[in-house]
């Protein structure tokens, strides 16, 4: 089967946008991300990953695919397996149908990942579009080119255990909607996203989560090693985990811009500009964090906390503006 590989910023939005596009509904990555109202922020100190609190810039894994398909009316069939042998066989049968298959895998067991990037992250998505004997043809959206992976490695990656265990999850697009009413779904998605960012019932999610993290930074212990690990962790969550820059903010700004063109809306164009400016603020924040890591005290906890508050205020302003637009 021929499959158009396209490199994207984020694995989940990249996989679903290329699967849906392959099925016959051209959809860009930013559109997939935005229509799934996937932008978020969460700082959850109770949940620890490798000893560091959970910090997320988007909705949890699988929300992008499920949210997008629900909003657009795309039908996707998901399957999980308790038995790896059954999972491998089902994958072979699915490829034989001639439609590409999406998989959830662990990053650690995929041999084509650079050594330094191989961490135990279990919710990486990729597309399998062919098989040649024991080798699978894989389009991994965060890489430049398609790759070939031996079945041994792929099975290991599909059935890795631990947090967010994929359990061999595979999915295929079953059917597409007749048409998409962008004038309806775009305001819907933006309005829903406003609720995530501004209306979460807990102070750890959305803009309130940013303010919470800012207070936490200001009160951080003075131990340089602890600081270094914590600040480095924030930067990694924001920049390293395939975010398209500034923790998905640029990706979302791109969605707003594309929507503005579709709906001929100057307001959305303005919101896109504001989101870009918030993203630039996030990049400056990451830069300052790493400066502080390299030389403790060179920026200072108070200044870092202040920078994060600026990000929070900028985003709050964009979201209020967008909410007014959806209500107008």
């Amino acid at each position: 089967m021929t499959f158009q590989h396209s490199q994207s910023a984020h694995c989940e939005s990249g996989v679903i946008s290329s699967l849906v596009s392959h099925a016959g509904l051209p959809l860009s990555e930013p559109m997939a991300f935005g229509l799934a109202n996937a932008l978020a922020f969460a700082y959850i100190p109770l949940v620890k990953l490798a000893g560091q609190p959970l910090i997320a810039y988007r909705l949890p894994p699988k929300f992008i695919i499920k949210g997008l398909c629900k909003r657009l009316g795309v039908k996707v069939a998901f399957r999980k397996f308790s038995n790896p042998m059954a999972g491998a066989e089902a994958l072979n049968n699915a490829i034989a149908t001639g439609r590409p298959v999406g998989l959830q895998t662990s990053v650690y067991y995929l041999p084509y990942f650079p050594e330094e990037m191989r961490f135990h992250f279990n919710a990486h998505n990729l597309v399998v579009y062919g098989r040649d004997g024991d080798n699978y043809a894989i389009s991994d959206p965060v890489f430049e080119e398609p790759v070939v992976v031996a079945s041994r490695h792929l099975n290991k990656a599909r059935f890795a255990r631990g947090p967010l265990a994929p359990k061999g999850l595979m999915y295929q697009v079953e059917s597409l909607p007749d048409k998409i009413d962008y004038a309806k779904v775009i305001p819907q998605a933006i309005s829903k996203n406003f609720k995530v960012m501004m209306g979460a019932p807990l102070p750890i999610i959305g803009v309130r989560g940013m303010r919470f993290l800012s207070r936490k930074i200001a009160r951080m212990t003075d131990d340089p090693k602890q600081q270094r690990l914590f600040f480095g962790h924030i930067v990694r969550m924001q920049e390293e985990i395939g975010t398209g820059g500034a923790g998905f903010r640029f990706l979302y700004a791109s969605f707003l811009q594309e929507s503005a063109e579709l709906l001929q809306s100057d307001a959305l164009l303005k919101a896109s500009e504001q989101m870009t400016s918030a993203g630039d603020e996030w990049r400056a924040f990451a830069l300052a964090l790493v400066q502080e890591c390299k030389q403790s005290g060179s920026v200072g906890k108070a200044a870092l906390a202040e920078k994060l508050l600026v990000c929070a205020e900028k985003e709050a302003a964009v979201w209020r503006f967008l909410q007014n637009w959806t209500r107008a």
Partner: protein, 135 residues
Amino acid sequence: MRVDEVPQDNSITYAGHKKVLYAQDASGHYMTVQSSGWVVEETATCDAVAEYEARAEEARLQVLAGTQSPLAYHMYRCRMDLPLLAQVSGVWRWRIRRHFNPRHFARLTQRQLQRYADVFDISVAELKTVPGLDP
């Protein structure tokens, strides 16, 4: 971020690969741009890797000194910590902690050793040793 502001720092963590970022061209239009890395991100990633390496090295020296079993070394080498190893292997934390003791580790059954070896993706023989240890 403008296209000309997209960092091209040739990060070693990318191993020659390029990653896609979203940036605006001169007219403000968003497009995807390949980036060969950003020093800021590279520093943070290398720090995280170095942390595991330092812990693995510490564990290795303890194995050579005979105060710890090779299990802890392999755990850190595979970028895991105790809670993660417990989740991945399905062995309770207090039992893993017990297996860090060379005396208890030496008495493990083949099946139990195989369980750890599978998680680390190595053989049982490799699991029982660390670099620099005479067999």
